[in-house]
């Protein structure tokens, strides 16, 4: 990590998950911000260009798939290239397909253990 902390954006509408995730990831020396819905997530992604986005698939208003597509199709190439790890609560089969369709980099199926998530994140940054 070249001197400065890597920035993570967590997009998750479940308060408890968002809180526990950020606690854990801050412990791991990441800089963490949280968005609770799609609008906020897109705004945050464009204004701060995080190093990686952790994205829940099922959200109010915009779905995770839609957010994913919007980011991948963003005019700003840096934004379009942000690695995305999807958090899903479906089955592994469904998740794999969603990942392919939306252009996310990888996925973690809920419930997940912290090490598993960390490994997925470290693959990309």
């Amino acid at each position: 990590m070249n001197g400065h902390k890597k920035k993570l954006l967590i997009v998750e509408d479940d308060d408890a998950i968002a809180r526990l995730l950020s606690m854990f990831l801050r412990e791991q020396k990441f800089e963490v911000s949280v968005a609770q819905d799609g609008e906020a997530a897109l705004q945050e992604a464009k204004s701060t260009t995080p190093d990686l986005i952790i994205l829940d698939l099922i959200l109010p208003s915009l779905s995770g798939e839609e957010i994913c597509k919007a980011i991948r199709e963003d005019d700003d190439e840096e934004v379009a290239r942000i690695p995305i790890v999807v958090l899903t609560a479906k089955s592994a089969d469904v998740d794999r397909i969603v990942c392919k369709v939306t252009g996310a980099n990888s996925y973690v199926t809920k419930p997940f253990d912290r090490q598993g998530l960390l490994e997925e994140i470290r693959k990309w940054i």
Partner: protein, 410 residues
């Protein structure tokens, strides 16, 4: 043509002839004319003398039995066409001609017959008894080939069953996916919370033990949800033409660790040169792993599991396949079979009817969700294969999987 009417007509004619002088042909209709007319029908028609020997046959019949007319005449019908019913050879006394000659006036029944060239036909056989010359009784029999029709009916029924199943699974599937999301979020909170506490609580061993138990409970709940999703997701399978034996071995490899833990002996007896079968490899591996795990959990330490594969030609259809009678297989069809046997405690007879029910389990909580065999059965059904589970007389359980061979009866 309605055979009864026809014979009635024939008898009337005969009566009229008897009244008149011999050689007189009322209404211009003679036996010869009648034979000519019958020859040009599509139906296969014969009549026999009182011993069941063929006295006359039309062209379609000669064609059906693949014999020259000369050879047909004088042959016994039962020798030319030994019929079968429900996969068994029809005993001589129940043969339609013999029923007629024994006094039945009319018969009409479905039979199977294997042509000399090997093709198995479904035949509707109808016959009537006549006494149109004084030398004794005659049997008049027609054969209607309904193989195609039956095949179409079966396909239609199969399609209907699949549709019903799909609708059922769709409703369960939608429900399961909904539940999965609702339950998995709280589980994620619990799991992360437990992880957090386990890492920060520099507490006593007791606290750590409680946290470990909690974590196990979360994994268990998650397994149930996963099983439910597996059970309900009715996605299309990816069928590939495969060899069975490598699949058997790959799945064995996946449970190596569990086998070792129980110090079990595995005896494999895998036949060479098995014909290929059409399977979704991942799903079928899941079937074998489920069955192996059941065997492993059923035996005491040091038990034995036997895995055997072979091919055979079906001489008769098994009693019950899975829980339901099915007719996915036909007599004479070649199948590939896998048998998995254990030396375990067996299944109490009282539970036999319920072993495939979702959530039915007798295992301790941490070992079973009650979905293993439900998922297994579903996958097997999607392969148009069959699964049969029985207690062996000498103890332990035998699971028999039967697969269609590509190109055998579709």
């Amino acid at each position: 043509m309605d055979l009864k009417k026809f014979v009635g007509h024939l008898n009337e004619e005969r009566a009229a002839m008897r009244v008149g002088k011999e050689g007189i042909e009322p209404n211009g209709l003679s036996l010869e004319n009648m034979k000519g007319a019958l020859s040009s029908l599509v139906e296969s028609i014969v009549w026999t003398d009182q011993e069941g020997k063929i006295q006359w046959s039309n062209d379609p019949f000669d064609c059906l039995v693949e014999q020259k007319h000369k050879k047909v005449l004088g042959s016994k019908l039962i020798d030319l066409m030994p019929l079968m019913q429900n996969g068994h050879k029809l005993p001589s006394r129940l043969y339609p001609v013999n029923l007629l000659l024994d006094g039945e006036h009319q018969v009409r029944e479905l039979y199977q017959w294997q042509k000399p060239s090997g093709k198995l036909l479904d035949l509707e056989v109808s016959g009537v008894q006549m006494d149109w010359n004084r030398s004794g009784k005659n049997a008049f029999v027609s054969f209607h080939d309904i193989t195609e029709q039956k095949h179409t009916e079966e396909e239609l029924r199969e399609a209907q069953l699949q549709l019903i199943q799909a609708v059922k699974m769709e409703s369960v599937g939608g429900l399961a996916a909904g539940i999965a999301h609702e339950v998995k979020n709280p589980l994620a909170v619990l799991q992360m919370g437990v992880d957090y506490l386990a890492n920060s609580a520099n507490g006593t061993g007791e606290i750590q033990a409680v946290l470990r138990d909690m974590k196990q409970a979360i994994v268990r709940a998650d397994n149930v949800i996963k099983g439910l999703l597996d059970f309900s997701v009715s996605r299309k399978l990816e069928f590939v033409l495969s060899d069975l034996n490598p699949l058997v071995n790959r799945s064995l490899n996946l449970v190596k660790h569990e086998l070792h833990k129980k110090q079990m002996t595995v005896v494999t007896d895998l036949a060479e040169d098995l014909p290929k079968i059409c399977v979704d490899r991942n799903k079928m591996e899941q079937v074998f792993v489920n069955l192996y795990m059941n065997a492993i959990q059923a035996v005491l330490k040091g038990g034995t599991m036997r895995v055997k594969t072979y091919q055979k030609r079906l001489v008769k259809i098994g009693k019950v396949v899975g829980r339901r009678k099915t007719d996915i297989f036909k007599v004479g069809e070649k199948v590939v079979v896998a048998e998995i046997e254990d030396t375990g405690v067996g299944i109490p007879e009282a539970n036999m009817d319920r072993i495939f029910d979702p959530f039915f389990t007798t295992k301790p909580l941490e070992q079973g969700t009650g979905l293993g065999l439900a998922v297994t059965e579903k996958i097997v059904q999607m392969h148009k294969a069959s699964i049969d589970i029985e207690n062996k007389p000498e103890g332990g359980v035998r699971v028999t999987l039967m697969f269609k061979v590509k190109g055998e009866n579709g």
